[in-house]
């Protein structure tokens, strides 16, 4: 019995499982696409990765043969692994978008644990067996090989992560297919249910919630929660939320690749579609704008085939150019629209404008910030009018709208300051818009905290530079989180002759907070702009 070795390998494997949590978190944030996870991984080589690699090499050199010196080294290695576990805990505390222990994460984690445990168990059994100790391939050497493999996976957590993903993948696929069929069956059993699909590069989550709230005045409505917009998100909503009395189901449909929208349409089977915008979002996965456009229009094609209707944002040139081919209702701010917003007035306390559709014209007011919300509300109103909701009901529902979490959500913050939390915004136009909102806060001190814009392919540099230029106009203090995208933003800021003393570049959100906390008082407005999940904070 080589107790020291067994315990050491066990502790090292345990530390590997703790380290795995961070990897699973990133796998989860990559929507379980190993390619996207790999994309993050490539950029994430840090000091700690090199330390882990050294640990592994040390293990190879000292796990065999079993001399006292070697056992001491292994023991120290195991002790150091305990520090690694401690580090994993503080990692988790500092994360912005934490690992959510969904069933799938649990299954993946268990697969990894079983994998490592199996290596150790077989290793121990071999070592304790009565195999010929003298042959070249003897039991001790075999054990060494198995333990080395186990150590490899323990030290190199991403490898374990990918193995666990590969082990569980077929099971997940089978499960997913069953759920998809179940959701389809539920929808098929409800012939009177009206399904509305909402897609677009930007604005789809807000439009979805606004439409849900308005239609609630007249119908029993189910909306996909939060920003659920994948096929499985739709499936889950159908299975958990749709009830026999449900009359309308609003599904947000997101796309990162061609065919994504069609895939969701095949499940949800919408007859009404809304396309809120087409822009360079996820350009890195799509390749070009043309593919993005045709992907969004998969929804329009679907509705057209079902003799349904599409509601199109005519303020978006790309969408307008395509609209002629469809049985469509155009909404926007121009005269030619079927449903349009006019006399838009906005300020720090909200928006108000007139909605004009056919012969009816009525005024709406909302606490929502941002001119783009006028367009989202107009889209929702166009659909609601089409479904027979009265102007009065629409106006009332609009007056009751509340911002979606982290989307231009105004709240009071540190030291009586005002926070505009726009952390989930990922739309370049929307970001500029949000920055401009600062302009309506008079002579208050204005602070921007942002990591910049991501996932925009080759336009990323350009967009970030423009964000910088805009920030320089409207803000007094600019804090950029993460050095990577700070370069183009800072360039934009400086090009406007901004006082560089007020431009700060920090490594993490935690650091940013340390910086801005003493600046906040009741004459301060602070805005968190754009996506801040861990994936990009670095």
């Amino acid at each position: 019995m080589d107790i020291v070795l067994y315990i050491s390998v066990g502790v090292i494997a345990a530390s590997g499982l703790f380290a795995l949590c961070r990897q699973l978190q990133m796998l989860q944030q990559s929507s379980y696409y190993p390619s996207r996870y790999w994309g993050w991984l490539k950029g994430a080589i840090r000091v700690r990765t090199n330390l882990a690699l050294m640990g592994f090499l040390l293990f190879i050199g000292s796990a065999w043969p079993s001399t006292t010196y070697n056992r001491c080294v292994i023991f120290v290695l195991a002790a150091l692994s305990l520090i690694r576990i401690k580090l994993c805990f503080s990692d988790r505390r500092k994360s912005i978008k934490k690992l959510v222990f969904t069933d799938r994460i649990k299954r993946t984690f268990v697969a990894a644990a079983v994998f490592l445990a199996a290596l150790i168990t077989v290793g121990i059994l071999l070592g304790e067996s009565s195999l010929d100790q003298n042959s070249i391939v003897n039991a001790g050497f075999l054990q060494y090989i198995l333990f080395t493999i186990c150590a490899f996976f323990s030290f190199i957590a991403p490898a374990t992560c990918l193995v666990a993903w590969a082990i569980t993948y077929p099971i997940e696929q089978m499960g997913a297919r069953w759920y998809v069929n179940d959701a389809k069956k539920i929808l098929k059993n409800m012939p009177d249910l009206k399904v509305i699909g909402v897609t677009g590069s930007y604005g789809k989550t807000s439009t979805k919630f606004i439409l849900g709230r308005i239609l609630n005045e007249k119908f029993n409505v189910v909306v996909t929660p939060e920003s659920f917009n994948t096929p499985m998100g739709v499936v889950r909503t159908v299975r958990d939320k749709i009830q026999p009395q449900t009359q309308i189901f609003i599904a947000e449909m997101g796309a990162k690749n061609k065919g994504d929208i069609k895939e969701i349409c095949e499940i949800a089977d919408p007859t009404i579609g809304i396309i809120t915008s087409v822009g360079p979002q996820h350009l890195d996965t799509f390749g070009n704008i043309e593919t993005i456009t045709s992907t969004k229009f998969e929804l329009a094609d679907w509705c057209q085939n079902k003799n349904g209707k599409v509601f199109l944002n005519a303020d978006n040139e790309i969408i307008k150019a395509r609209s002629a081919n469809y049985n469509s209702v155009l909404y926007g701010t121009t005269e030619t629209c079927d449903c349009r917003a006019e006399n838009i007035v906005y300020g720090p306390s909200g928006l108000s404008f007139n909605i004009i559709s056919g012969n009816s014209e009525f005024k709406v007011s909302t606490k929502l910030l941002g001119v783009h919300n006028a367009l989202n509300i107009t889209a929702a109103a166009a659909v609601a009018l089409d479904l027979g909701v009265s102007c009065d009901d629409i106006a009332f529902a609009v007056s009751q709208l509340k911002p979606v979490n982290h989307r231009l959500e105004m709240k009071s913050y540190l030291g009586g300051s005002t926070l505009i939390d726009d952390a989930y915004n990922a739309n370049p136009e929307g970001c500029l818009e949000a920055v401009r909102i600062l302009g309506s806060f008079g002579d208050m001190k204005k602070i921007i905290v942002t990591p910049g814009l991501v996932e925009l392919g080759e336009k990323e540099y350009e967009c970030n530079r423009r964000l910088g230029e805009e920030a320089a106009i409207y803000a007094d203090i600019i804090i950029l989180v993460g050095p990577k995208r700070a370069v183009p933003i800072a360039e934009g800021v400086k090009s406007r002759g901004f006082n560089e003393e007020n431009l700060h570049i920090v490594q993490s959100f935690a650091e940013a907070r340390k910086l801005f906390t003493p600046m906040c008082d009741n004459n301060t407005v602070i805005i968190f702009e754009n996506d801040l999940p861990d994936n990009y904070a670095g």
Binding site: I96, M190, Q243, P244, Q245, L419, A423, R513
Partner: protein, 397 residues
């Protein structure tokens, strides 16, 4: 997929049987293409029973046998859904739990119609048909009901009210007060009962004391009000909610006694229990529509709607009026039935709404109320205590 409607009937109330009649009628008129009816019979002892036999009025003649044919059930909330669980499940004879989408209480009287069952469904988080707890409770206490309507400028007869205990302590004072403030003839009513149980009309002091004692045996609180002698009774049903409601055609019940009595109301044309007679309010003799000038009818309908809104009603309520023909046909709201007998469907059929449609609208109103509630809570679904991401804990630093 059909919407599962749990129809509650029976309950521990003196109007137990009347509820059964109303509920069975309703179950036979519900659109079964759209709704799956799940009867839940609350026995006089308060047990919950379910089973298809409950849809048949004949089965109720032998309650012991009926109980044998039903399953004891209980409602529970699990994973955000309300389930009806069978309590007599055996190892190899299990019945599946049934998900309930909406509750439909068709029960009358104290211990149920007065907000009790509404509160129970409210706790379960199940949308339900009809008035909510507040409106139901208001409709059940005639004194508080008068107070609320008076505040809303709805005409009611003024009254003197007192508890049984006060009456026993200050017998003469109270009798004097009633005589002075109201004067004969007088109506004595228990404050908290529906129907006409315990109500009497008195002409002199001797009858007064006796009538109060009778009323006290039905309720802890009693009220006295002027008896309108040259009287016509007019009833009007209101359907909707506070945002939007409409009034039905008016009916005028035909009185066989001084006051529409318990027997009049629910057993007219029958001797006891024959099923022919068990048609509830629908079979009462009445003039429908009531013989009134157009302007008077409109006035009554407006007052009915005003009363419905004042008590924040929902679903269908029947507002009963007293019209004083000796005083210029002046009308007073007499009482409100938050779950009227037979759901006053006959008034709606006379107004052009079929019973099936009425039931459908009632169920949809239940969902509407639920939606309005959800709207108010719309963004509260995140736990404030779990908000660590953009740390309010940072304010300590």
């Amino acid at each position: 997929m059909k919407t599962n409607v749990a129809v509650f009937l029976g309950c521990m109330s003196v109007e137990h049987e009347i509820s059964i009649i109303s509920a069975v009628q309703a179950m036979h008129s519900m659109d079964t293409n759209k709704y799956e009816i799940i009867p839940i019979y609350v026995t006089k002892q308060g047990e919950f029973l379910s089973g298809d036999v409950l849809k048949n009025i004949e089965e109720f003649k032998d309650l012991a046998a009926l109980k044998e044919k039903c399953h004891p059930v209980s409602l529970v909330k699990a994973n955000g859904r309300v389930l009806m669980k069978y309590l007599d499940n055996k190892m190899f004879k299990r019945q599946m739990d049934i998900e309930i989408n909406v509750g439909f209480p068709i029960v009358h009287g104290t211990n149920c119609e007065d907000g009790t069952i509404q509160g129970y469904l409210e706790m379960l988080g199940l949308p339900y048909v009809g008035c909510d707890v507040l409106a139901s409770a208001l409709g059940m206490d005639k004194v508080i009901f008068k107070t609320v309507l008076t505040a809303a400028d709805v005409p009611v007869l003024p009254c003197v009210s007192f508890t049984a205990r006060e009456f026993s302590a200050n017998h003469d004072t109270i009798i004097n007060q009633i005589e002075n403030q109201i004067g004969y003839p007088i109506i004595i009513k228990p404050a908290n009962l529906g129907s006409s149980v315990g109500i009497s009309k008195v002409e002199n002091r001797a009858e007064l004391g006796e009538a109060i004692c009778l009323a006290c045996s039905f309720a802890g609180k009693v009220l006295a009000e002027r008896a309108v002698t040259a009287l016509r009774e007019i009833n009007c049903s209101v359907l909707g909610d506070v945002d939007n409601c409409e009034a039905s055609q008016l009916e005028e019940p035909i009185m066989t006694d001084k006051i529409l009595s318990y027997d009049d109301k629910y057993r007219s044309g029958s001797k006891g229990k024959s099923s022919e007679g068990s048609k509830g309010m629908a079979s009462l003799s009445r003039k429908l529509p009531a013989d009134l000038p157009q302007s008077k009818a409109e006035e009554i309908k407006e007052i009915a709607k005003k009363a419905f809104v004042a008590m924040s009603g929902s679903g269908v309520c029947r507002i009963d009026f007293i019209m004083d023909t000796a005083d210029n046909d002046k009308v007073y709201v007499n009482e409100a039935n938050t779950i009227p007998g037979s759901l006053s469907f006959y008034l709606w059929e006379a107004s052009g709404i079929k019973y099936t449609e009425l039931l459908d609208r009632l169920i949809q109103l239940a969902f509407k109320r639920e939606r309005n509630r959800d709207n108010i809570m719309f963004t509260m679904d995140s736990n404030i205590l779990s908000t660590k991401s953009f740390g309010f804990k940072g304010s300590k630093n």
